[in-house]
Symmetry: C2
Subunit: 356 residues, 2 copies
DNA sequence: GTTCAAAATGTTTGCGCACACAAAGATATA
DNA sequence: TATATCTTTGTGTGCGCAAACATTTTGAAC
């Protein structure tokens, strides 16, 4: 058999001695088929090694797939802004195909908003959904609804054990904390006093923080780095001014050699304080390539950033969904991104390549 | 205008008051067109915002594109083995499209082999070529030939100024050296004696090494790290045994605190020596996620690896070519990959995610 | 054997585009 | 003015598949 000649449905049909429609019925398990025809077709499929031409398939079906992308409002937060730009990039990337990607934004700090927007998503009647499930209980309800409607979904950024999605895209948070610890330990050498800075959160983000801190502490424990002290501070709320004032107080009272900030936003606020008080010698490890973080890294105040790559998470999430819908390609159950270490010398290479 | 109804060539044609063939001629710049028709069509294209349906386009053209991927034999070298696996992945990825990807392997150390294989590539009559041009002069001849035949090509791994390719994929070598220096300096603290280990090479790889070393030294100079000493050793040839023996000698004679090895293969040979002599306290910075390097990183002998991501370079190279051939999408002139820093704590996250 | 509905199978069209082919229009030549 | 030649424009078919639509076969009831 000529391996370079594609086998079409027509070829299979001829070999099986039936019409193309019968083969089509077998392939798509639709309509009724006699046992005799079924076996004949199956044999022909086997013998020819038929592979559907997915290009022709999508063209022929002429269906427009609708994908809903649901995430926190990018306008209100630089981290989610990057996710948003990923959605936008994916939209462009798949524009040529029969795919329509619709963004749905909710308020990060408002569970009600999450519920309302998820209802809007349902009303949109999407063929599949990409979702950042930052509100645990509300997300579970939403998942249940999606399952009932048999709408497949991919989640990113935040994992939820019971979610049972097509795929989860994100990072290993525990290990991420360990990487942060490793960097800080490398920078500080043999000993030092370390601060871990939290903000109290109600969202699933709290789990991010906890897991990262667990990994962070475990690193020191597992490597018998007993000459380090690690102290955690949890700030009560999201008020920038309060955070800045209290952190200044803490830093004025005690000797601090290094700081680990497990979230992106508070990373640059911490840097701002260090900049203000002129304590540039304190090693700072934080998260993500946000505009402000980039600035403070150039300034030499932030020493290491761990890149969660929100943009790429979004792009890949949409990619998995499109491939699933159009090309029946099953994504991996989970896609854990590499824990990228950003420094002053490699940050530019990341910023540039992020555009591709 | 209904934004959800796709605009087809037919629609554009009707609006412009011409036939679909005329629009087709404008779109593909083929055949002759009167100025009047041209402007009418252009206007109609503008007004409708016509976007070609690439699915239909590839189906309609029904042409099989042949891409030749020319690189050093993956069986002989673990680094190039990863490039090879990238080619393989790309082959699978694009199998559904009308693309045939054919690998062509040459001997890394044999210019004659490069010439012979490049002739084979020409005979294959590819529609485009992906190439790792490790032999300078031979590559130039090959580029000239490809240009004459109007075969577009993308180069990766090694850049050649005069190459004039569709796109170069690789890394900023100078900056890469700076990152290595940064890591070593962070690890060592304020002072130390550093070795840079080279092997004399005839291929374009020599440029890799030189640029990396330049960046490496510049980092120390620019940051006034004057308490470090940096000494380079160039080993005469590719003999493993000689390398090991001589390195042992050097290490027994002088106090060494850190070593920078700008190439992947000699990274793990250096690690082998350090392992053998029990000098685990010497900081070692090298290149790439090769099997042996991974091993020595787990062992704690290699401290940092800079990941050049040969696999992804190959995948992306093919991707650019396919997009260019099938979808007329122009790749960027150069795609410089991020300078990824690998450590003991994040290495697993890289190995896992490399599979996706 | 008819009749009739359900079951099984077959035929055809359209998806949007590329491209071969056909036709018409413009210009030059005799 | 007729004819040849080149230029410009238009028509039709096929790519492989999905799905609507059309036809034949089967078998049960009379």
């Amino acid at each position: 058999m000529d391996q370079f000649k594609n086998i079409r449905i027509k070829d299979v049909a001829e070999l099986a001695g039936v019409s193309v429609a019968t083969v089509d019925r077998v392939l798509h398990k639709r309509g009724k088929i006699s046992e005799k025809a079924m076996t004949k077709v199956m044999e022909a499929l086997e013998k020819t090694g038929y592979k559907p031409n997915l290009i022709a398939s999508t063209l022929g079906s002429n269906k427009v797939f609708k994908i809903a992308a649901m995430l926190p409002n990018p306008a209100l937060d630089d981290y989610w802004n990057q996710s948003g730009s990923g959605i936008f990039k994916a939209t462009e990337e798949w524009a040529q195909y029969n795919v329509r990607i619709e963004p749905f934004y909710f308020n990060l700090y408002d569970k009600k908003s999450f519920q309302q927007v998820s209802q809007k998503v349902i009303d949109f009647k999407p063929d599949s959904v990409l979702l950042a499930p930052v509100h645990y209980h509300e997300a579970l309800d939403f998942f249940a609804e999606l399952k009932k409607l048999e709408i497949p979904y991919v989640i990113f950024n935040t994992n939820i054990q019971e979610a049972d999605p097509l795929c989860f895209i994100g990072q290993d948070l525990y290990q991420s904390g360990r990487v942060g610890a490793e960097m800080l330990a490398t920078k500080l050498g043999k000993k030092g006093n370390i601060l871990v800075l939290h903000i109290y959160e109600e969202t699933e983000n709290a789990i991010h923080v906890k897991e990262k801190e667990r990994g962070f502490r475990d690193y020191f424990a597992n490597n018998n780095l007993n000459d380090f002290t690690i102290e955690s501070f949890e700030f009560p709320d999201f008020n920038d001014a309060v955070f800045i004032r209290e952190l200044q107080q803490i830093l004025s009272k005690q000797q601090v050699d290094g700081i680990f900030v497990p979230t992106s936003k508070w990373t640059h606020l911490t840097a701002l304080v260090l900049d203000k008080t002129g304590q540039k010698d304190i090693a700072l490890v934080g998260y993500d390539l946000l505009k402000d973080n980039i600035h403070y890294m150039y300034e030499g105040i932030i020493n290491f950033l761990i890149h969660q790559n929100p943009r790429k998470q979004a792009v890949k999430g949409i990619g998995y969904l499109v491939n699933y819908l159009l090309f029946k390609k099953q994504p991996p159950l989970s896609d854990l991104f590499p824990l990228e270490i950003i420094t002053r010398e490699n940050i530019k290479s990341y910023i540039h390549s992020d555009l591709n």
